[in-house]
Subunit: 335 residues, 2 copies
């Protein structure tokens, strides 16, 4: 899936910033790809872009109308349909992170057909993947893994892309989830892939590359999450990382959505190496990224010092303190 | 998915027994559910059932016409379509293990609609599963795991069902692959489930049961297979087995379809316990099932003795020597 930019972001009638988190994630990392936004009456989110209609955005050079909002119930309201049809008739592609397939709405399918524009359903994989083969591919790879879901794996991979590029590394973020796909303009939401093709999808997402090139692959779930560990393992085998960073939220006691206790950072390091060796015997941990929003600055520093002392690894909160320490580690071992 | 029996088995123009392995697997384990077969000119497979048309089978009480054969190219030839339509019009449901969806063929969809009969696409999951939650469910569970794909995991689970029932255990085979679904009349092909729902699908396949009831869950793939380990891990977490049996083929050097070396039985025991503890801390290995067709009787006995000595576990070839040793182990620990 390749999504063309500039984007025109649709925020709909988002009841809060969380409902528009896909659009706001795109703004955080790819503001330069975004040309305008469209908000409906009552919208509580703001991407701080000029408000305009799809037709105005198309006239200014936008290529894709991005539905970066989740509405209640997951159904498309009639006023959204007419806006999407307007976008297509104005010459824009339409990309959606909704669970429904845009082409299943007859008016949208008809508009796409008559305008010749593309519909991208990021959450619904159309790509036919091969099964993974486990063969070592040229190029270097780093995967962000986690003690849980929603602990900063995407953020850390994107922050590393920025930090490594600034230090002269040839590095690209590789998306495995829907917001990441919008941010990078390509990739696949691997949680939507049929189970037999998880590792194969990741082999496609992160293909052969130059020997010194780094793919920074967005992790998903956790090897210790009873709902999603299968996705995490297929992702690990397909990514065949040389290096990994463990992402962790220090105040969480049970894993997201279930009653299972959180594993320790050490558990995750040990299991990631034990499983990851299958497709890359050189796999090693190069750092810990702490999602420390719930701590004070002093508490966060103390926790980072404790982690470094316990595991002998650089530890940082990428949001608060940047990723320099981890980039230092990469430069030392692979620079 | 619930498939009603008696079955009428369709063997098509199978070019050899392998092409009809689904039908022949049903016969091996559920001959009493099968009422007749239908073969086309040139068919090289034989389920040793009376040959009859769908209409004749329906008149004798058959409930479901089972397409137990894979044809070259995976497309439905026109003569198959007319036979399937005849089956529906005769009052039979139709169940298929093909990769295509029966209802996508207009003539078949029309016949199903006018007859009110069901179409079961066993390889294409229609069931909407919840994500797994990892909570411990009442009842006992045994999972067959493997050093590779195609090493006897289904056969071993079915042999254990028979052997345990004969010794007074309350035990049921639980299918996770297409042939297994036909054999048990329910279940789901978990390799066809969307990645996020693997463990949730297995929680559905093996639900709450009486405290002394055993579910014997068919394993898939291997935690060490670079194509399919994600499926195997989600299956392990969803199955939350109390006991597992390792299935192994002793002459294989690389895993099926890839260049990855085979793990040892010990590797699989260690990794299955390390991962399986997440949803069942009591998990333990209760035996090894050797798929020893490539060895002589003497060689097989020597290999089984070696495995028992190395791992301190009962070891058998279920086909050659039955599963009594493993049932003894279960009776000792859980009887």
């Amino acid at each position: 899936m390749l999504i063309e930019h500039p984007y025109h972001l649709f925020l709909g009638d988002a009841r809060d910033a969380l409902a528009a988190k896909t659009a706001l994630g795109i703004i955080d990392w790819r503001r330069e790809w975004c040309l305008g936004q469209m908000r409906l009456p009552g919208c509580k989110a703001d991407a701080k872009l000029p408000d305009m209609t799809p037709r105005e955005a198309a006239a200014k050079g936008a290529k894709t109308f991005v539905i970066g909002v989740v509405n209640a119930g997951g159904v498309l309201s009639p006023d959204w349909i007419s806006i999407i049809v307007e976008a297509l008739d104005s010459g824009l592609d339409v990309a959606s992170g909704l669970h429904i397939r845009l082409g299943d709405v007859p008016e949208i399918a008809a508009a796409a057909a008559r305008s010749g524009r593309a519909l991208h359903d990021v959450r619904i994989s159309k790509e036919r993947f091969a099964t993974g083969n486990g063969d070592k591919r040229p190029g270097m790879r780093l995967l962000t893994v986690g003690t849980d879901c929603s602990v900063g794996k995407k953020y850390t991979a994107l922050a590393l892309e920025k930090g490594m590029r600034a230090r002269g590394f040839d590095a690209d973020f590789r998306a495995t989830g829907q917001t990441g796909v919008f941010i990078s303009g390509r990739g696949a939401a691997i949680d939507a892939v049929v189970a037999d093709f998880i590792s194969g999808a990741v082999e496609w997402i992160s293909p052969d590359a130059a020997p010194n090139h780094w793919d920074l692959i967005e992790g998903q779930g956790s090897l210790f999450h009873p709902s999603f560990a299968g996705v995490s393992l297929g992702l690990l085998h397909g990514a065949q990382p040389d290096a990994f960073v463990v992402c962790h939220e220090p105040t969480r006691r049970t894993m997201r959505g279930v009653n299972t206790p959180l594993p320790t950072i050490g558990d995750v390091i040990h299991m990631t190496i034990a499983c990851g060796r299958l497709t890359n015997p050189a796999i090693r941990c190069v750092g810990v990224a702490l999602y420390s929003e719930a701590l004070s600055d002093d508490e966060a520093r103390a926790e980072l010092a404790r982690i470094t002392k316990t595991y002998g690894l650089p530890a940082t909160d990428p949001v608060r303190f940047g990723v320099e320490r981890i980039v230092d580690e990469l430069a030392l071992h692979y620079g």
